[in-house]
Symmetry: C2
Subunit: 456 residues, 2 copies
């Protein structure tokens, strides 16, 4: 059977089985696998998807970690074809306040062509589309067009703290993979899929400062003990200048410039700044050491203060000298920047500039990047074209962070991110949803990619 007729069959079967697939997604979303809470409900989702994979002919098991288990599932396919590793996660974000949801977060509901529920798009629906694609391909051809391994994380939403260790333990069976595909997040636009070659890393930390052991009168004690807010203001100002340069001692030397091809691709993705600013209701761009919004988002490290709190915040004024303050920050890391090294530099900078301040590590991921000329990219893009009729938007990197580095760094594999969710999937927010046409399209896209890779 030709690749094209296989794909037509897949599309036909998906059309016929929409209700059944919807029901399977609903069953999966119903499990409240909130990793921030942990415990049995998370594991139950791992067990469910393991059993689904077993039913689909996969050799599937739970690989135990110090946290939630990793679901590992292999199924061979046509020999000597590329071995595809598909990464996803069966854990979900906390639902947040119930009253902000139009329907209960763990009672999946279909309205206006979307399924609403926590985990629909992030990430159950996305990896379930890949799983269903493998079932259909086996049904049509008796075997997969290429060997497929699923690695499904149970702790992605808490920073995948045990994934790297698990992948190291599984190295023997995962290192034979040729390529990693991660479907997560929304697409950047409605009309095209994205094919993303890299992600920024992240280092999240908190700075806490103390002065006296209680709040004091600013008239009697102003500038006698250290004011923890001034301590943090001066420390932070020493970490990034007004022009937007990160000035953490030694930090600037880490980043390596992107290759020409990636730089050109980024330049081609430059959005209209006025339109971008209007979309987020901002008056102007932040000061930055480089021109180009796309370069800032994809090729530059950023240091963001996520929160800063200390002292009085109520109406009017209170002439108090506060006794403690905290700043929460994240640094997005780019090529050449190692999260561990960045953390050492942050700690050393704090020790040097504000020795009384405590720096607390809140999690990190290394950056990851796969060269755009990776041998499998053309086949994957061809698969996407085959199922959607359109070339994907090739993005050298994304501003956000995912644990893709575990595959690129620990296993040395090329990895591609292919978000299948709709633009407005509202992940991490109330009323998370997956557009059903995206879900069904995702099944076809996944099948088409496996077929294209097999032919490559």
């Amino acid at each position: 059977m030709s690749e094209q007729s296989d794909l037509a069959q897949v599309t036909r079967l998906v059309g016929e089985r929409r209700e059944a697939y919807l029901g399977r997604l609903a069953d999966y979303v119903r499990l409240p696998s909130v990793s921030a809470v942990g415990g049995e409900p998370v594991r139950a989702a791992g067990v469910q998807i393991r059993d689904v994979l077993r039913s689909g002919g996969f050799d599937a098991r739970l690989h135990e970690t110090a946290g939630q288990p990793v679901v590992v599932a292999h199924r061979g396919g046509a020999r000597d074809r590329p071995h595809v590793l598909i990464y996803g996660h069966y854990d979900v974000q906390p639902p947040g306040e119930d009253e902000l949801w139009d329907s209960p977060p763990f009672e999946p509901a279909v309205r206006g062509g979307r399924m609403f529920g926590r985990g629909t798009a992030d990430n159950k629906g996305q990896h379930l589309a890949h799983v269903i694609a493998t079932e259909l391909l086996v049904e049509l051809a008796g075997e997969l067009p290429c060997p497929v391994t699923f690695v499904l994380d149970g702790e992605e939403e808490v920073g995948s703290p045990h994934l790297d260790q698990a992948v190291r333990e599984l190295r023997a069976e995962l290192a034979t993979a040729d390529l990693v595909i991660v479907s997560d997040g929304p697409t950047a636009r409605d009309d095209r899929l994205d094919l993303v070659y890299g992600l920024r890393g992240i280092l999240a930390f908190e700075l806490t400062a103390t002065g006296a052991d209680r709040d004091l009168h600013s008239g009697h004690y102003g500038e006698i003990p250290p004011n923890p807010l001034w301590t943090l203001v001066h420390l932070l100002a020493s970490m990034k200048d007004e022009a937007g340069n990160i000035t953490i001692d030694g930090f600037g030397e880490l980043a390596t410039p992107l290759p020409e091809r990636e730089q050109a691709a980024i330049a081609a993705l430059e959005p209209d700044p006025a339109q971008l600013l209007a979309s987020i209701g901002a008056p102007r761009l932040a000061p930055a050491p480089v021109a180009g919004v796309a370069r800032r988002q994809m090729a530059r490290p950023t240091l963001t203060i996520n929160g800063l709190h200390g002292g009085y915040g109520g109406p009017r004024n209170k002439t108090v000298l506060p006794h403690q303050a905290l700043a929460k920050c994240d640094i997005r890391l780019v090529d050449g920047q190692d999260a561990d090294t960045a953390w050492e530099l942050v700690q050393a900078h704090v020790r040097r500039h504000a020795p009384d301040v405590t720096a607390t590590w809140h999690g990190a991921m290394h950056p990851a990047r796969t060269p755009m000329d990776t041998p499998y990219a053309a086949a994957v893009a061809g698969g996407i074209r085959g199922a959607t009729g359109q070339e994907p938007v090739h993005r050298p990197t994304m501003g956000g962070s995912l644990p893709m580095w575990v595959f690129t760094r620990t296993l040395g594999l090329p990895a591609l991110v292919l978000p299948l969710g709709n633009v407005d999937q509202a992940n991490h927010a109330p009323n998370e949803n997956l557009a059903l046409d995206r879900f069904y399209q995702g099944i076809a896209v996944s099948a088409s990619i496996l077929l294209a890779l097999a032919r490559s």
Copy 2:
């Protein structure tokens, strides 16, 4: 009758009438004259003290303002003697949370030699001591030893917004005063009274910054719109450097150095830094451009961040780019620094360094200082010695702020602050109290000062 025998008589009568005076203080404290709330309960306290003054032979009335009335009361005395203006305030701070009080804030209760209740020490008990002193002196001599005017503010706790206007309207009858005495605040130590010649001014303001119109993902939007926390950090860092110098454009040029005598007096008041730090539980002194804690507290302007808030402040981390932030600040002003000029400089600095930031004025007082060689200081100190047997501690200025500038600046009068409250009076806090021996001593001190001034 000699001054000394008059004073002995005063002391005897106070001793005999303790219960009655206690009852009068309780009646006055019972009125919940919270100016932050306003309305009739505040005015009622003004009416009560006006009537008390009338009973004591004063020509007393309410002078209306756009806010609470000012109580003005005159009584002549021995001719050609110094005319003493006594300033106080009949309004009180909000009580705060009832459950933090050991007895209800407006049901005065005596325990362990103190009266507890909002306003006992700040400021009802302190000016009532002066009022009772005048009654006793008239009782003993038929007239006051010198003319006395009371000016009692109903809005001191909200920054005396209408006092200057009222004093301007009353200029004809107040400008004949020779000297202003303000009894407010606790003493600095248990064993001696303070005689204070000046107060720092204050300018309180808020800085608010906005970026996008909602919180955004720090990975996708970090450093695309302005981060209001970075805006405030860089703005604040431009207003004070790490060495503690205030660097608001033009600000440094305003202050004028204190005369030699004042500088020497400040140097003589230098506390033991280790003891001071231990008393407030602070690890070290804040960086400052001058040596000497006493100089920092009395002779230097300070810029304190009272509060800074924006973005996420909960447990662990949230990789958010916040959309708004605020900083509340106060500047304590010293000799030569005008609060209006300081406010213009702050606004101009903000416009120049962070044009998107809004600066909001929250109140101001000018600094005030009376030269230590003012002609009446020796007599006042002599009066204090006469009643207490001890020389007061002569303090050129205090770190805090009071509306004394209205008298020194608008009327051009010398003014002295003579706190009568105990060290631990807990003003502005729960369980505010006045030690009864301080109250009774305050009556004697006030009488003694009037007698000493009459003789000077």
